[in-house]
C-alpha cells in the first residue's frame, strides 16, 4: 500500500491561495471587464486573481509526496487576546472616550501572556493610559474626546 505523504503546510497554503484567488476572480467577474484597450475596473484584478489561483495550484501540486515541517505551535492565547484589543478600541473609542477605551485595550492585550498577573496587568494598563493621555491628548493635542457620551453623567 502506498502511503500518501504530503507537506500539510504547503497543502493548506496552496488551498488558501486558491480560495483567495477564487474570491477575487468571482468579485472581478461582477465588475466591468472592458477591453485590453480600455480596461474596465475588473480587467487587471481578474488577471491577478487568475495568476494567484494558478500559483495556488502549483503550490498544492508541489506539496504532494514530500513531507515538510509541521506547522509548529500556534499562539492561540496570543490570538485570543491580542487581536480583540484593537477591535475593542475601535468599538468603544467614540462611545466610552479615549481614556477608558485605551485602558481596557491595554488590559486585554496584557492577558495575552500566560505570565501576566492580574495586579501587574492593571498597573501596567493604568500606566500606559496615563502616559498616552499626557503625550497624545495633551502634548500632541490629538482631537480625541477623553470621556465619551457613554460615561458622561
Amino acid at each position: 500500500m502506498k502511503t500518501l505523504a504530503f507537506d500539510s503546510t504547503n497543502a493548506i497554503c496552496g488551498a488558501v491561495f486558491l480560495i483567495l484567488g477564487g474570491f477575487f476572480t468571482y468579485q472581478s467577474l461582477t465588475l466591468d471587464l472592458g477591453t485590453a484597450l480600455r480596461m474596465g475596473p475588473g480587467y487587471f484584478p481578474l488577471l491577478l486573481a487568475l495568476i494567484l489561483m494558478l500559483l495556488g495550484i502549483v503550490v498544492l501540486v508541489q506539496s504532494v509526496r514530500v513531507s515538510g515541517e509541521p506547522l509548529g505551535p500556534i499562539a492561540l492565547r496570543g490570538m485570543a487576546f491580542i487581536l480583540p484589543a484593537p477591535v475593542f478600541f475601535g468599538l468603544t473609542v467614540r462611545g466610552l472616550g479615549f481614556v477608558p477605551a485605551l485602558f481596557f485595550t491595554a488590559l486585554i492585550a496584557a492577558f495575552a501572556s500566560s505570565r501576566m498577573k492580574p495586579t501587574m496587568a492593571l498597573m501596567l494598563a493604568a500606566a500606559i493610559t496615563l502616559f498616552s493621555v499626557a503625550v497624545f491628548s495633551y502634548a500632541l493635542g490629538l482631537p480625541f474626546q477623553r470621556f465619551g457620551p457613554w460615561v458622561r453623567f
Partner: protein, 501 residues
C-alpha cells in the same frame, strides 16, 4: 556648485532645531523598539509610523528616516548581544558579532558596527546626493510603459530575495497587488472588493495593513513559545576598539561600503543582499578565513557597512522614481502619500527643501547614532532584560492610537486585527510578508500605468517591448526570474537562507 548649494539647503532644513529634535526622537525610538528581539526594522517602522503623521511633511519624513536607522542599529545590537537578528540583514552580523561577544568583546563589536555604519552612511549619503539629480532627469523621460516595467522589476526582485519558495513569494505579490486594488476604481468610480463597506471605499489603510501584517503578526509569533531570554552580557565594557581593531576593520569597511552602495540601488531589498555579499567577499579575501564564524572583526565590519550603505542608497529609486526598493521604502512611500507628497521625479524640483532635507537628515541620523547610541549601549542592554509581556501591551496600545489617529476611522482598527491574523497565518504557512506589502503599495500604481500605457498604445501590448527602456527593464525582470529558478542558484539560495534561520 549646484550640488553644494543643494546640500546646504538640505542641511539648513534638517538642522533646524525642531527637525533635529524629531530626528533624535526618531533615532531613539527606532533603537528602543528595534533592540527588542524578534522585532525587525520593518516591524519597528510599521509600529512607529502613525506617530509621525501629526508632524509637518519634512519633519515627519526626517523622523521616519531616523527611526529607520535607529531600528537597523538596534537590530544589530540584538544580533550581537543575544544572537537573535530581528531582520535578515543583520543575520550576517550575528554570525561573528555574537562570537565576539562570547569572547568578551561585545563592546568592541558594537562600536565596530556603529563606526562602520557611520562611515558607510557618510559615503552613501554623498552618493545619493550626487546621483539623485541626474537620475531624476532620466526618470522624467519615463512614460507609463517604462514605469510599469520598472515596477515589475521591483516586484520580481523582491520575490528573488524573499525567504523560502519562489512560487509562494510570487503568490504573495499577486495577493498584495489585489489587496492594493481594494477601493474605488480611479477611472470609473466603481467600488471594488469593498464587500459593501463604505469605509473601505478609499482603499484599505496602508498603515493598518503594515501594522497588522508586520507588527501584530510579529507579536503573535513571539508569543508562541514564551522563553526567557538570556542576555549574554550584563555590562558592556571596552567600548573603544583597539588600534589593531581599527587596522583590521578599515579595508572591510571600505569594501562593504562599495558593495552596499552598488547593491542598495537594486530594487527588491539590496541591503540584505549587500550584507551577504560583503560577508562572502570578506571571507574570500581574508588571509585567515578560518576565523570567520568565530568572531572575525571583518565579519562584523564588512556586512554592517554594506548593510547601512545599501539602506541609504535604496532611497535613490524612491526619491527619483517613486519606486520603493524594499518593504521599508514601501512604508516611506505610504507615509509620503499620506502627507500629500507623490513620490517621484518631481519631488526634487517641486519641493527641494524636503528632498534635500531628507538626504541631509540621513547623514545627521547616522551621526546621532554614533554620538548618542554608543554611550547609551548600557541602557539598551538593560532594555533587553525587560520581559516581553510588559512590552507588548504597550505596543498594542500605541498601535491602536496610532492607526486610529491617521483617519479617525474605526474600520482601520478592524483591518489591523484582520491583517494581524492574516499576517500571522501566512507566516505560519511559511510565506514571507515583505513581497505582499510591496505589492500592496505598488498595486494601484501598477494598474494605473498599465491602463494608461495600453490607452497610449491604442491597445497594442507590444508597446512594452518596443520601447527600449521598457524592454530592457522587462528583460532584467525576466533574467532575475530565470536565475532564481535555475537549479544551481535555487540550491545555493536555499542554503543561504538556511544559514540565517
Amino acid at each position: 556648485m549646484e550640488l553644494f548649494s543643494n546640500l546646504a539647503l538640505g542641511f539648513a532644513t534638517a538642522a533646524s532645531p525642531e527637525n533635529l529634535l524629531f530626528c533624535l526622537i526618531g533615532v531613539l525610538l527606532g533603537t528602543l523598539i528595534g533592540v527588542l528581539p524578534g522585532i525587525g526594522a520593518t516591524a519597528t517602522i510599521a509600529m512607529l509610523l502613525p506617530i509621525t503623521f501629526q508632524l509637518e511633511p519634512v519633519s515627519s519624513l526626517i523622523m521616519l528616516a531616523g527611526i529607520y536607522y535607529g531600528a537597523q542599529y538596534g537590530g544589530s545590537t540584538t544580533a550581537i548581544l543575544i544572537n537573535m537578528p530581528g531582520e535578515s540583514s543583520s543575520a550576517v552580523t550575528a554570525i561573528d558579532g555574537y562570537q565576539m561577544a562570547r569572547k568578551g568583546r561585545a563592546g568592541a563589536a558594537l562600536s565596530i558596527a556603529a563606526l562602520g555604519s557611520f562611515f558607510a552612511g557618510t559615503v552613501s549619503t554623498f552618493l545619493v546626493a550626487l546621483f539623485a539629480i541626474p537620475l531624476t532627469g532620466i526618470a522624467l523621460k519615463f512614460g507609463a510603459a517604462e514605469y510599469f516595467s520598472l515596477m515589475i522589476v521591483g516586484l520580481v526582485s523582491s520575490v528573488a530575495l524573499a525567504h523560502g519558495s519562489v512560487v509562494k513569494a510570487l503568490a504573495m505579490v499577486s495577493l498584495g497587488l489585489l489587496l492594493g486594488l481594494v477601493g474605488t476604481d480611479i477611472y470609473t468610480g466603481t467600488p471594488r472588493f469593498t464587500l459593501g463597506i463604505r469605509e473601505y471605499a478609499d482603499g484599505l489603510n496602508f498603515v493598518a495593513v503594515a501594522v497588522g501584517v508586520f507588527g501584530i503578526a510579529e507579536i503573535l509569533r513571539n508569543l508562541e513559545g514564551e522563553k526567557t531570554r538570556s542576555v549574554l552580557v550584563q555590562k558592556v565594557s571596552g567600548l573603544w576598539p583597539t588600534r589593531d581593531d581599527f587596522r583590521r576593520m578599515a579595508a572591510p569597511v571600505l569594501r562593504g561600503t562599495a558593495i552596499g552602495s552598488a547593491l542598495g540601488i537594486l530594487p527588491g531589498g539590496g541591503a540584505i543582499l549587500a550584507a551577504f555579499a560583503s560577508y562572502t567577499v570578506e571571507k574570500r579575501v581574508s588571509d585567515k578565513p578560518e576565523e570567520f564564524g568565530h568572531g572575525a572583526i571583518a565579519g562584523v565590519a564588512g556586512p554592517e557597512s554594506a548593510n547601512n550603505a545599501g539602506a541609504q542608497t535604496s532611497f535613490i529609486p524612491l526619491l527619483t522614481l517613486g519606486i520603493p526598493a524594499n518593504p521599508v521604502m514601501a512604508l516611506m512611500v505610504g507615509a509620503m502619500i499620506i502627507q500629500g507628497i507623490v513620490p517621484g521625479p518631481n519631488v526634487a524640483s517641486e519641493q527641494p527643501a524636503l528632498f534635500w532635507g531628507i538626504i541631509a537628515s540621513m547623514w545627521i541620523g547616522n551621526l546621532m547614532l554614533v554620538v548618542l547610541n554608543l554611550p547609551l549601549i548600557g541602557l539598551w542592554v538593560k532594555l533587553l532584560t525587560i520581559p516581553y509581556y510588559v512590552l507588548f501591551p504597550i505596543i498594542m496600545a500605541f498601535c491602536s492610537i496610532g492607526v486610529y489617529s491617521v483617519n479617525s476611522n474605526v474600520y482601520d482598527l478592524y483591518a489591523v486585527a484582520f491583517f494581524g491574523l492574516a499576517g500571522y497565518l501566512l507566516v505560519k504557512l511559511r510565506c514571507e510578508p515583505a513581497p505582499l506589502l510591496l505589492g500592496f503599495v505598488l498595486g494601484p500604481l501598477l494598474e494605473e500605468n498599465l491602463r494608461r500605457a495600453m490607452i497610449l498604445s491604442r491597445g497594442d501590448p507590444t508597446t512594452f517591448i518596443t520601447r527600449p527602456i521598457s524592454a530592457t527593464l522587462l528583460l532584467i525582470a525576466l533574467a532575475v526570474l530565470v536565475i532564481v529558478f535555475l537549479p544551481s542558484v535555487k540550491a545555493k539560495r536555499e542554503e543561504v537562507f538556511q544559514e540565517e534561520d
